[in-house]
Amino acid sequence: MVTAHLATLAAKFFPMEPGLQAYLSVAGIIFAIGFAGVLLHKNTLVIYMCLELMLTASTLALVAFSRFYGAMDGALFVFFIITVAAAEVAVGLAIIVALYRRRHTVLVNELNHLKH
């Protein structure tokens, strides 16, 4: 009884043919890990990397939706998302370098000059 229930649960969460739900689960897990990293870390660069991880998870979900809906448009949008993300990373890292040159720190808990 219990083993049968476990088998149904396993077949539900680990299907032989990974469908939309499997890809969405992976995207959700990666997004959650990235969010935890944003909350946990103090180094601005690592926080930024975790933000990129969240963005990548969302693009994975978008491609999965596009593929299982059978329309190309979602996959085309991911191209633009990757382009914008590349530009955003470049500008963000330039801002972090400029910040480091002024404040000599990349720790978010030391970058609190607006608070005082």
């Binding site: 930024y48 990129e52 633009f80 990349v106």
Partner: protein, 185 residues
């Protein structure tokens, strides 16, 4: 076989994403991030979007992460900048992590599964919406017909980003409130 590849690459992606968060050193985090992004690229291949997979590996796992590594090594954060977490924060973050993963799993398994549509490799056409095709030809056709304007705007966006980086990277004005012992001044 696709099922095995899917589980292998999703496990690789998730585990290396976890190591991005767990690692105390930013360089190690960046290395794990490269593996994670390449795993997402492999998942793009399994979703029959090989162009996006190649783009993900070249742009994200290649260019963007090299830029990250360059900046991390340039700024050379001392040991006190490494991950130092209080226990209350850790408990809170673990709660958020469990809630988000549980919510994602619950939401994505709430509805009956969507059947795997047959792969469409028809020649690109002007029908709306465009049929999903794995060929790069269909991708380029879509980019250069219906999404012509966003495509050009993306090009200009890259140009604007480049100009912005040049402006940002110039020396700051010397009226800044940097520490008095700054050797540059």
């Amino acid at each position: 076989m696709p099922a095995f590849l899917f589980y292998f690459f999703s496990l690789l992606t998730i585990v290396s994403a976890l190591f991005v968060v767990i690692n105390r050193d930013a360089v190690n985090s960046a290395m794990c991030m490269v593996v994670s992004l390449a795993g997402v690229g492999a998942l793009f291949f399994l979703l029959r979007a090989p162009f996006l997979g190649v783009l993900q590996i070249i742009v994200y796992a290649g260019a963007v992460m090299v830029l990250f590594l360059f900046i991390i090594m340039l700024l050379d954060t001392p040991a006190r900048h490494r991950l130092g977490i209080s226990e209350i924060n850790l408990v809170f973050v673990c709660g958020v992590l469990v809630a988000l993963i549980g919510g994602a799993l619950w939401l994505s398994h709430q509805y009956p599964t969507v059947g795997d549509p047959p792969q469409v490799d028809a020649l690109p056409s002007d029908q709306a919406p465009m049929a999903y095709a794995s060929a790069s030809k269909a991708f380029g056709y879509g980019l250069l017909t219906r999404y012509m304007l966003p495509f050009q705007v993306a090009g200009f966006l890259l140009l604007i980003a480049m100009v912005g980086i040049i402006v940002l990277s110039k020396r700051p004005p010397s009226d800044g409130d940097s520490p008095p012992g700054d050797p540059r001044r």
